[in-house]
């Protein structure tokens, strides 16, 4: 019903590059002639990188010891047999002896490794209250429902609540060194600081505000997690490393991606050991508390040094080498095909 007589040419579309679909454009083509050099270049680059990565990973040393004790060897076997089914198990201690014939270059990192432990189980992973851990007083006394069944203990709110906190790894290690066969063991200082992410330790995890300058009063009215022998404010005697802001606790709270995982326990970089562990006999005293045999898991101690790219993992280097050589092989195959079919293409063109 609404039509109006308009001027001639009024409906003529605009003549712009966009409306006429002729914006200036680059037309890349994945033809053999372009991809061939690309493949060779990429292949060579990857091979080079792969070699570099492989050797840098190979230079890293690792020393690990399974102290679970179910193989009936080592002193931890006795601990292992002691009623490990229940939690918390009785206290037990054992030792691991080893000797280094040469310097284990530093800085050396001490990890503990657990296997068969599913920190990534969803029911486990969500069983925490980040608000409580950030020191929010209201959350301290009203833990999130996800924490159940570690939400309330005997009517008192659990702090820190949840399965993750409750299962805090509580084996402790001390490292002793003996330079000469008959010399006494000297304790090697373990630096337990900066094992957690800086941001976690300084920002994400906060203690609730002190009451009368006392952390214990701040946690008044809460219960420790059922498995914990001590309340959270007694995790460490160091006032800067206790409560929720305890390095071990913060490390544990960053749940691992896979059922086999390592967590950093300490760094060895102080005193005579800043260059690494010198040769000699060593003893690790282990407070064997953490029960793993119930779920078929293992506990390992790992000494490792670190390069710029992290721990020892040959995968990256090998993968680079494989992909690089695949590129080059493909490059050659393509070259062969290219040369062979080039003639045919010419024929085809002649036909046209």
């Amino acid at each position: 019903m609404t039509w109006s007589a308009t001027a001639r040419g009024a409906h003529q579309p605009d003549n712009t590059a966009f409306t006429q679909q002729r914006l200036p454009a680059w037309h890349p083509l994945l033809s053999a002639s372009i991809t061939l050099p690309l493949f060779f270049c990429a292949g060579l680059a990857f091979l080079g990188l792969g070699l570099g990565l492989y050797y840098s990973s190979n230079a890293i040393q690792e020393l690990e010891y399974d102290y679970t004790g179910d193989a009936d060897e080592g002193s931890c076997a006795t601990c292992a047999t002691e009623d490990q089914g229940r939690a918390p198990p009785p206290r037990c201690s054992c030792s691991w002896y080893f000797t280094l014939s040469e310097l284990f270059p530093g800085p050396v990192y001490l990890y503990y490794e657990l296997t068969g432990f599913y920190q990534n189980n969803r029911r486990y992973g969500v069983s925490r209250d980040d608000a409580q851990l950030s020191g929010l007083p209201s959350a301290l006394h009203h833990p999130a429902n996800e924490c159940a069944p570690y939400q309330y203990s005997a009517g008192l709110p659990v702090a820190p609540c949840g399965a993750v906190a409750n299962s805090l790894f509580n084996d402790t290690f001390t490292l002793w060194h003996r330079r000469q066969p008959d010399a006494p063991y000297v304790e090697v200082p373990l630096d337990r600081s900066a094992i957690a992410w800086w941001t976690d330790y300084h920002i994400k995890f906060r203690n609730p505000p002190l009451v009368n300058g006392s952390l214990a009063l701040a946690f008044k009215g809460t219960a420790p997690p059922p498995n914990w022998p001590v309340p959270v404010y007694e995790l460490s005697s160091d006032p800067n490393n206790t409560g929720f802001v305890n390095q071990d606790f913060v490390v544990w709270m960053r749940t691992a991606a896979l059922p086999t995982f390592r967590k950093l326990y300490a760094r060895i970089r102080q005193g005579n050991y800043s260059a690494g562990l010198p040769s000699g006999a060593y003893r690790v005293d282990i407070a064997y508390n953490y029960p793993v045999r119930a779920f078929g898991g293992h506990k390992l101690l790992v000494f490792s040094n670190i390069s710029w790219m992290g721990g020892k993992n040959p995968f990256l280097g090998i993968a680079y080498l494989v992909v690089g050589s695949l590129c080059i092989v493909m490059g050659f195959v393509m070259l062969a095909v290219y040369i062979r079919y080039q003639d045919q293409d010419d024929d085809d063109n002649d036909d046209e």
Partner: protein
């Protein structure tokens, strides 16, 4: 009461009598017996929503879609049970999708509201309480008397009461109804025609009784009972949504494209994958949990509630949780992206200058954007002939009078062929005519004259023919012209030739014009007198009756009374409808001549007359009046009377009119055939005409073996003929075959022998169906549509008779021609010329198909990539439904990180230059049969998605190894870092994969592709850099930054992205090298002309930076400045020189062959 409620809600139609009674000016009878009928007001509502019902109604409409409903269910499941992901992850994308769609639909509805308001608010003058009142269109009530001035638009359906002319006539154009722009005369009832003033009208007390509203535009029956101007006084009869126009708004049948169908198939496949993944996970979860040490180790005890819940319930809720976890494998934003792509992409058709017809100032129209990609899939083209292949501009060429053929040469008739006995006489007659009308003409062409001396004798026998031609029609003379003629009715014939005729049928116009050239000039009709001027002498005929044309009778007649008092009937129509009714005249000779005309591709009409005795006439008059005033079954009665009147005719002769072929029809048909498209011509013309036009437009070749299936009378005969044809085709499969079928044989063939007929048709490279009724056209298309190969059909037509076929075909194309806009209005796409079809299909169709096919495949691919790592992760987390990615990433993956590159790709991609596509129609075959969405291609993409997902996941898994530290300071990553690593690799890979598919890199593509990746990084840095106060878990805090601070992670990201794409690149290169498709070959031809990558991003080499920036700005605006028309194929284009020489050559080839 209940009944009233139901009526108001629209369940029961309100009680309606068959007729409505309208009291003019709403003057109801005073006695109380009258119960007023209720009529709706004159508000036109084409909009769907109001402000109030928009939200609920639109939501309802949207959730009727299966996909949206599915996501709603998932969302509700997430709300109800304990699921691994928060309801936000599926709620937000759903909200986004719904909002975008709602905005689009709201915008469209807003446009409709605007146009409604414009119509409803138009000022009108209504007679109320004795005076003219200005009011708005929407306030008109049924029964109001409305005054319409010249050139105004009717606000409702109106009945003419009077006009400012004494005879109460007015001229009306129906362009907005059916597109016919000719003037139609309407005459008021004499009783009201005299009431020309408002005061007079005010005193009118009258009642109109008429039928209830119906959609048929050409039918209105009613009677007025009266119990007592370039402007017109009219009374409103139907208002608002009951106007015939509103009733003609058809809710268009939803056509679905092949792409959409395969999309739905893919969705179902993915749904199956989803459900089986969920089932597998659930089963594995329970096998794992059989051991207590995994189900409930000491460190991860269950609550009492969890322990005690019933096993079956737990099983179901676990299954649902897995369903929720994996639900993103169904691409939620697929539909909204496809919709946006179609909506935005369809603008390019309207914008295309190549599809713009300058002469008529018409650009192409897209009436539905749902079918863009279907244009790239056409297997069959069904085209109308008249107005589609031809111009629909008729030129009178030849005629046959009393068995003698004449040709019109330079405005004179010249006999043709060996007709010795009468050639002299007729010639002299004709030259006599010319002599009298135009002496100059005569002398200039005197060589044709043989014997000018004996001229007068034979005029009598022949002028009847031309009188018939100039009387038997419905041609109008335009208002202004007729006025001037009215002033001086005795003009010379020379001046009269400047008159302009307007006719609804171009044939009629051509005939009347031809008669005028010959010397018998139609001068117009005033009141009921038709004036014709024969050689300068005015003759008046009283027009008694017009027996209008209809497509069943295929003829029309007029009954006139000559000044001598004799009453004559002149009939004009198709030879098949006139000749059987004739009892006198040179029937046999004329039949031969008509066939000869048809062979030349001319359109023929036969002319006959009948003389009535006054007794006969009285009976006819009476019967006609009865039929015309009948309220019931008027049409049947009229047809019966017409049948009675149009008989015992005496044949006068036949006319032959030429309809010129449109520009480049032959090339277009040729190109369509090269593209592997079968072309069928469906026409109402007679067999010979159709065949000869087919030959001239290249539809049939001279070398083709033409098979015929015509004039079949019986079933068995038809079957026999079909079998014969099938045999002939089998024997001779070297030559191309063409098939000619006519309407009657076709209906026989379709009734019993569909299979046989289809068999024959499929083996013919060209099929021509002549003598087709509109519904038959549609039926043929339906038949092809449902044949086993399920081909995609496209119908092109220009007239109202093509509407049914346009609506039946998968894609309906309307030609905006001379026969009105009905076809264009009902079509999916409307173009101005047949030749535009080649660009529409080969370029736009091809592009749209490639774009949307890749879009669909890519969407499924990227969601497989997205969800498969999540599935794999379950194997490492005891099937505990732990998510790999953070909720925010789950939410934003589809709507932010990966949405734009594919959308831009699907709007701008041009894998081959458009000129190459247009000049090499064979490229169209590369995408036929929905090739890019075939199950193989789909499997390839899906497998690619799976393999990429394996690479992301296991690459990251092995990188972690025995969970070694990846940081230089020995600290450890957690599960969220692991997931983020996988996610980062995925976003990059998926985006670069899109980049690999892109062959047309404009600055926009660069912007969105690299922009998406950069956006991901910036977003993640920001997101993980802050402790978000409103989030309950702070899992992601500093995770991304820690990830990026690891050198290993960087190396791993590069490695995994390269490895993923390596597979794909290798496949692409080998495909291209070993068996390139013709499309890939065509891509090579243009590499010389390509713009360098950097050019397309920002600047051209060798330019000052300022100029480059200016250019970039200009390009951002989209204006194509003269300096950088670099891809426009203009003559001043240095980039494309090499290429253009190739292209122009091929253009020449195609035009010369």
């Amino acid at each position: 009461m209940w009944r009233w409620v139901r009526q108001q809600l629209g369940f029961d139609p309100p009680h309606q009598s068959d007729t409505r009674t309208i009291y003019i000016a709403n003057r109801f009878p005073q006695n109380g017996l009258y119960t007023p009928q209720k009529f709706i007001d004159n508000r036109i509502i084409s909009s769907k929503y109001t402000v109030w019902n928009f939200v609920p109604k639109n939501l309802f409409e949207q959730f009727r879609r299966v996909a949206n409903f599915y996501f709603l269910i998932i969302f509700l499941v997430q709300l109800m049970i304990d699921t691994p992901t928060s309801p936000i992850t599926s709620g937000l994308p759903l909200f986004f999708v719904i909002t975008v769609t709602a905005i689009k639909q709201g915008y469209e509805d807003w446009l409709r509201h605007n146009s409604d308001n414009e119509v409803n608010g138009a000022p009108v003058y209504v007679v109320r309480s004795g005076g003219l009142v200005k009011t708005r269109s929407k306030n008109i009530r049924v029964g109001d008397i409305v005054r319409i001035a010249k050139d105004e638009i009717f606000p409702a359906d109106l009945v003419l009461l009077s006009s400012d002319r004494p005879d109460g006539s007015c001229h009306v154009t129906t362009a907005s109804l059916d597109g016919e722009t000719n003037l139609k005369t309407h005459v008021a009832v004499p009783e009201t025609a005299v009431l020309q003033t408002v005061a007079n009208l005010d005193s009118l007390i009258a009642v109109i009784e008429c039928q209830q509203p119906e959609a048929d535009l050409y039918r209105f029956m009613g009677r007025m009972i009266i119990t007592q101007q370039m402007e017109e006084i009219v009374v409103a009869v139907y208002t608002g949504m009951e106007t015939k126009m509103a009733l003609n708004y058809k809710s268009k049948s939803q056509k679905r494209s092949a792409v959409e169908k395969s999309m739905n198939t893919f969705l179902i496949i993915y749904l199956i994958i989803l459900i089986s993944e969920a089932i597998i996970s659930t089963i594995l979860k329970y096998t794992w949990q059989a051991q207590e040490k995994w189900d409930e180790p000491w460190y991860n005890q269950k609550t009492e509630h969890q322990r005690n819940s019933s096993k079956i319930l737990r099983f179901i809720s676990d299954f649902l949780a897995f369903l929720v976890l994996y639900n993103f494998i169904i691409p939620i934003s697929l539909y909204v992206t496809v919709e946006m792509q179609k909506f935005l992409g369809s603008f390019f058709i309207g914008w295309d200058l190549d599809l713009y017809h300058e002469e008529s100032d018409q650009k192409s129209q897209v009436n539905t954007s749902d079918l863009n990609e279907e244009l790239g899939q056409v297997d069959y083209v069904f085209t109308d002939k008249t107005g589609t292949l031809t111009e629909n501009e008729m030129y009178f060429r030849e005629c046959s009078i009393n068995g003698i053929k004449y040709q019109e040469i330079n405005g004179r008739l010249v006999p043709e062929g060996p007709t010795p006995e009468s050639s002299e006489g007729s010639l002299s007659y004709l030259s006599g005519l010319s002599h009298l009308s135009n002496l100059a003409h005569l002398t200039s062409s005197s060589s044709f004259r043989t014997s000018p001396e004996n001229e007068t004798e034979l005029i009598k026998g022949h002028d009847v023919f031309f009188k018939a031609v100039s009387l038997c029609h419905t041609v109008q003379i335009s208002n202004i012209q007729s006025d001037s003629i009215g002033d001086g009715p005795w003009q010379s014939s020379l001046e009269s030739s400047q008159m302009e005729y307007y006719a609804s049928s171009p044939d009629e116009k051509a005939l009347v014009e031809a008669a005028a050239r010959i010397g018998i000039v139609f001068m117009g009709n005033s009141e009921e007198i038709m004036e014709i001027k024969i050689l300068g002498n005015l003759e008046r005929y009283k027009l008694l009756h017009v027996l209008e044309f209809d497509s069943d009778r295929r003829r029309m007649s007029v009954i006139v009374q000559a000044s001598s008092g004799e009453k004559l009937l002149f009939a004009k129509g198709a030879e098949s409808s006139i000749l059987p009714k004739c009892i006198g005249g040179e029937i046999e000779k004329t039949r031969i001549h008509v066939d000869e005309f048809a062979l030349k591709g001319l359109r023929t009409l036969c002319i006959a007359y009948r003389q009535f005795t006054s007794k006969e006439y009285q009976e006819i008059d009476r019967r006609l009046f009865e039929a015309r005033t009948a309220l019931q079954q008027r049409e049947e009665k009229l047809a019966e009377v017409f049948q009675f009147i149009e008989k015992d005719l005496i044949l006068l002769g036949a006319t032959a009119v030429e309809d010129r072929l449109q520009d480049k029809v032959r090339e277009t048909i040729e190109a369509l055939r090269m593209a592997g498209i079968k072309v069928w011509v469906l026409t109402g013309d007679k067999h010979e005409t159709a065949v000869s036009v087919s030959l001239s437009c290249g539809h049939f070749h001279r070398t083709m073996n033409i098979l015929e299936l015509i004039n079949q009378k019986s079933d068995s005969e038809c079957a026999e003929q079909l079998r014969q044809l099938a045999r002939r085709i089998k024997e001779d499969h070297v030559i191309q075959h063409g098939l000619v079928v006519d309407g009657t044989s076709l209906s026989l063939a379709l009734r019993e022998h569909e299979k046989l007929f289809m068999e024959v048709c499929r083996n013919c490279s060209a099929v021509l169906c002549c003598r087709m009724a509109p519904l038959q056209k549609a039926k043929v298309i339906r038949l092809i549509k449902i044949s086993p190969e399920k081909p995609i059909t496209l119908a092109v037509g220009d007239g109202a008779n093509d509407v049914s076929m346009i609506q039946e075909a998968h894609v309906g194309i309307g030609i905006m021609g001379k026969e009105g806009r009905q076809a264009a209005r009902n079509s999916d796409y409307a173009i101005a010329r047949f030749k535009f079809l080649s660009k529409l299909l080969f370029v736009h169709g091809h592009f749209y198909y490639i774009r949307i096919a890749t879009l669909v495949q890519y969407f499924f691919y990227k969601n497989v990539c997205f969800i498969t790592p999540q599935f794999l992760y379950q194997f490492y987390c005891l099937f505990s439904q732990q998510t790999l990615y953070d909720s925010m990433y789950l939410t934003l993956y589809n709507i932010c990180f990966t949405s734009l590159p594919v959308l831009i790709y699907s709007l701008l991609e041009q894998h081959v230059d458009p000129h190459v596509l247009q000049n090499k129609p064979a490229l169209y075959r590369d995408i036929s049969k929905n090739r890019l969405l075939s199950i193989e291609t789909f499997l390839y993409w899906t497998l690619l998605g799976f393999s990429h997902a394996f690479i992301f996941f296991f690459g990251s898994y092995f990188l972690m190894g025995k969970d070694i530290s990846l940081l230089g300071n020995g600290q450890m990553f957690g599960n969220w870092t692991f997931g983020t690593l996988v996610f980062t690799v995925m976003v990059i890979t998926v985006t670069v994969k899109m980049a690999l598919e892109t062959h047309f890199w404009t600055w926009i593509n660069h912007l969105v592709t690299w922009g998406s990746i950069i956006f991901y990084f910036i977003f993640s840095l920001f997101y993980s850099g802050i402790l978000w106060p409103f989030l309950s878990s702070q899992n992601m805090y500093f995770v991304f930054i820690q990830l990026l601070s690891s050198g290993s992670a960087w190396f791993a990201i590069i490695l995994m992205v390269v490895t993923c794409l390596f597979l794909d690149v290798v496949k692409k290169v080998f495909d291209r090298q070993l068996h390139p498709t013709s499309t890939e070959k065509a891509q090579l031809t243009e590499t010389n002309a390509s713009v360098k990558c950097l050019d397309s991003v920002c600047c051209f080499p060798g330019e000052a930076a300022s100029a480059a920036v200016r250019r970039m700005l200009a390009r951002a605006v989209g204006r194509c400045g003269p300096a950088h028309l670099s891809r426009s194929w203009s003559a001043s284009d240095p980039f494309c020189t090499n290429d253009r020489s190739v292209l122009t050559l091929s253009t020449m080839d195609s035009s010369t062959c």
